[in-house]
Every structure is written in C-alpha cells, then in structure tokens.
Amino acid sequence: MTTENAIDCRKPFAATLVELAGKDDRIVAVCNDSVGSSFLGEFKELFPERLINVGIAEQNMVGVGAGLANAGLIPFVCAASPFLTGRALEQIKADVAYSAANVKLCGMSPGFAYGELGATHHSIEDIAWLRAIDGLKIVVPADARQTTAAVRWAADAPSPAFLRISRTPVPDVTDASEIFEPGRAQTLRLGNDATLIACGTVVWRALQAAKILSDEGLKTRVINMASLAPIDADTVIRAAEETAAIVTVEESVPRGGLGGAVAEVVVANTPVPMRMLGTEAFAPTASVEDLYEHFGLGAEQIADSLREVLAR
C-alpha cells in the first residue's frame, strides 16, 4: 500500500528543528551515531557546536540530555526509538521525567518500520513502557504536518516529552492549520455507527478502512489520538456514548499502548464493545508491508475487525 505524496516524517521533523534552532540558540540536538538516520545532517552543518553526538551510548545520551536541560538548553534527543526508549528507560524515568528536565525525547523510526531487521529493531513496546512513567507527555504524530506542529509545540512547552517520529511515508491526513495541543484529539471523519481510534502513521490506514465501511453504509468515525499522555478522555467517552463499538489501531503493543489507554477510559466511564489492533508478538522475518498484513493492520483487515466487533 503505497501512495503519491507520501512523506517520511523525519523530513519535516528535521526541517522544523533546523528552523527553530535558527531562531533560538538554546535548541541543541543530541544523538547516538545517528546523524544520518535521524536526518540531522543539515542541523550538524548549520549548528555544528549544537550537535552533540555521544557515540553509540543511549543511556549516556539521555543523561547528557538532562544535564543540558539543567544548563538552560532545550535538548532534542534523537535516536532510533527501540534503543532510545528500551536502553535508556531508567534515565528517561529518573533523569528526565522524575527530575522534570526539559528534554524532548525523539524516538525515530518506531513501530516495525525496520521490517526485516527484526524484533530487536522494532519499537513496538515504547508506548507501553513510557505511558507508565509519570509526568512524560507522549506525542505520536499521524503525518508530516502534525510532526511539524508537534516539534513546534515541544520547543515551546517547558516539560519533558516523547515524540514518536515515523519513517514510514504517509500522505498528510491532518489539517494544515492545526496547532498541536496535548490532550486534544482530532476527529478526522464523522460517523455515529462505530469508531476507529488510531495514532501515528496508521491513522491513514484507519481512514482507508473507514472509507471501505462507509461505502457499505457503515458510518465510521475516525479519531486521531496523537496525544497519548495526556489522553483526550472526553473524545473517547463521546465515541463510546455515541457509537456502538470502538476499534483501536496502532503500530505498537496494544497492552499498555493506545488500546490500553482507550480501554482504561472506556471501562471507567462508558463500557462499549472494543477491539485493540496492533502488534501482539515479536515479528517474523518480513518486510514492513508484509508486517502490516501479518498484524492485521491492512485497511481491509481493520474494516473486518470492526464488522466483527459490531456483530458480536
């Protein structure tokens, strides 16, 4: 499933960071031998003294980020998401979140974007791990536009945050005029029969599923939950009250991920039939495209899941 106008979100991420760094010299980038994979080449050229490459050392990288924040800088710590979140989890908890250090953790190429490189390189646990940490805002942009908006917000917001920056190209699905606000979801498609709630670049897939369903007369609401912490509980509750079922869609582990987050709100407020789609296990050797199919995240498969929940 490819399409024209699809954009790798690392591009707007890097371009926005360069633009903001040009206006605010407190902005620094920290990375782990990942100048290339984090698209920091231009940043390095323009602001060599503000690019801190600690080498292949993620725990050190996050600790250094916290120290830089203490010195009054605004560090954007960029690394492949599995290594940033998995390796440096305690630094994220203690040095960043618990210490309320103004660090922006940028998890690059999350989900199973590394395809055949396998489960060690897939970052499917990151959302569940980080959602358990108090005080950390979690942002999963759906497309290039929202990535830009999220980076702008992060540079201004004086709080620890995690931004999940996808490398899987998708077309823009959000509105160009939107500014990012934590705790506020966007309803991308109206409908009162059932609801799809998604985050990240699979929002595009959820929209395609909704179109398939709507063509059959099933009016499906699509909610883009880019802010996972804090979550937009009101929007979830409204969907639970106004529609007959909710299916969540994410490129991550639903236990503790978006699925878990939505279920927590639903169960505590307005129980409604649910299904949580995502990555349920370590992946087989397969390409990214095959993995979407393997994990039931194709547009047709998402539509099937929703029909099944409604038929329950």
Partner: protein
C-alpha cells in the same frame, strides 16, 4: 577448506546474498570475515549436526548487523544450505536481518542492539566455570559498539573474575555507522583500557590469519582481548574505509566489480 579459502568464499557469499536480498551491512560483513573464518576453521569446536551440542564452544557475534557474514560462514561450515542462505531477510526466513536465537539453532543469543554480547559472554564463561565445563567462550564486538557502557561493566567483572575461558575479539575498523570512532567518541588506547580492567590484550592485523589464530588460541590466566585491526569493506576497493558502505547495497555493476575483486585476492 582452509581459513583463507573459506574467507574468500564467504566474501563471495556476502556479496551474493546482499545483492539478492537488497539489504545488509556489507562493509561490516567484509570487515569481520577473516575473524569468523579463522574462528570456524581453526578455533571453535562445533557440530553442524547438533548445533546445540552441550559441549560446544560458545560464539556470540555481538555486532549482529554483520548477520550475513555469520550466515555465510555457517553455510560453508555445514550449518545452512546455500538455498537457505538465499532466503536471508525473506518472509518467514530463519535468517533474520539480525541473528535471532528463537529462529535459528546455533545462534546463542539475539544480537542487533549493540552492547549486549559481552555481558552474555561473561555469564557463559562464569557458567562454564561453575559447571566445570571445558568449552570456551568467544565474543566478537564492533569497535564503535564499545562506546556502550554495558560492555565496560562486563569487562570490569570479567577481569575481576579472572575469566580465563573468555576471549573477546574486537573488529577494530575505526569506523562506526556515520563517522570515524576517534572523531565520534574515541576508544584509544583500547588495549590499555582492557589491561587496566584486568585483561590480557593483543593488537594484531585482523586480516592476517596466522596472527589471528595465534592471538585467539593463546592461553593465559586472564580474560583475553584480541584487538583485530581491520578495514571496513575489506576486499572491495571502493568500499574500503568508506562509512557510506556501512549498509549500502551495490548496484549490478558494483556487484560485478566487487565479486571480481574478492575472487581475485590470493
């Protein structure tokens, strides 16, 4: 097949596999080839019929991104067929982009995230001592990989434990993913660092098979590190010492030239 012949065949297989699959870490594979050829030919006690034979020597290729070098070497040593090698990175293959223990018997532990092999190898060597086993433990790391702090926790503990059954071979090609190690986060003097942590250290040419054999097989009372000075992309003129060839895939023309070059050597 002696180790030199094996290394030449492994280089051919690396080029063939990566070109066929359209992905792989070619520079990293060519860098480690001679180390693996010597290990499999003259050092390791393994049985391809019984990859989990309890008395086998243990090998961890901690720089798991060099999976194609490992799979190619395993192919020449009877652990895999050539047909299976060509399934590298294909749907449901046992040959994942990074070696996975659950997928392929003979892989001792999953590698890919850097800085994992050394701690696990230390556990193996301590375990061998506890159960009174004769097998030895070998771990191959990248040099950039040694920037991970987990390695130094393991190196410190291995020195403290005087783990004479443990040998670490560092693929010292002086490049990491994006740049030179010494420009990124310098490692020198690497031998002195290991020595300060209680290890015996030897620095050798990592493409000289006699030197590799002698250094790896030397016995002592301490854990031993062989700092194998290598060339990333070794054997292919336009790949040698070029960071971009960390994981670039050759074009058809480049493949033909590379194959000719690695086939011509010696």
């Amino acid at each position: 097949m002696n180790s030199e012949e094996q290394a030449r065949s492994v280089r051919q297989l690396i080029l063939e596999t990566i070109s066929f699959a359209g992905l792989g870490h070619i520079g990293s594979d060519l860098s480690i080839t001679d180390i693996l050829a010597v290990l499999y030919t003259d050092v390791l006690h393994l049985d391809p019929e019984r990859p989990q034979w309890p008395d086998r020597d243990r090998l961890i290729v901690s720089k798991g991104h060099a999976a194609v070098a490992l799979y190619s070497t395993m192919t020449l040593n009877g652990f895999l067929t050539h047909d299976e090698l060509m399934t590298f990175a294909q749907r449901d293959s046992r040959l994942n982009g990074h070696p996975a223990r659950a997928k392929l018997p003979g892989i001792e532990t999953c590698t890919g995230p850097l800085g994992h092999g050394l701690p696990v190898s230390v556990g193996m060597a301590v375990g061998a001592r506890i159960v009174n086993a004769d097998w030895k433990t070998y771990v191959v790391t990248g040099d950039g990989e040694l920037q991970e702090g987990s390695n130094w926790e393991a190196i410190m503990f291995a020195g403290h434990q005087q783990l004479s059954g443990l040998t670490c071979i560092v693929d010292r090609n002086r490049l990491q993913q994006g740049a030179l190690t010494e420009e990124t986060n310098s490692l020198d003097p690497l031998d002195a660092k290991f020595e300060a942590f209680g290890w015996d250290a030897t620095v050798i040419n990592g493409h000289d098979h006699d030197a590799l054999r002698e250094a790896i097989l030397a016995a002592g009372a301490k854990p031993r590190v062989v700092i194998a000075e290598t060339t990333k992309g070794k054997g292919v003129s336009f790949m040698e010492n070029q960071a971009v060839w960390h994981h670039k895939v050759p074009s058809a023309d480049q493949f033909a030239q590379a194959l000719a070059e690695v086939s011509a050597t010696r």
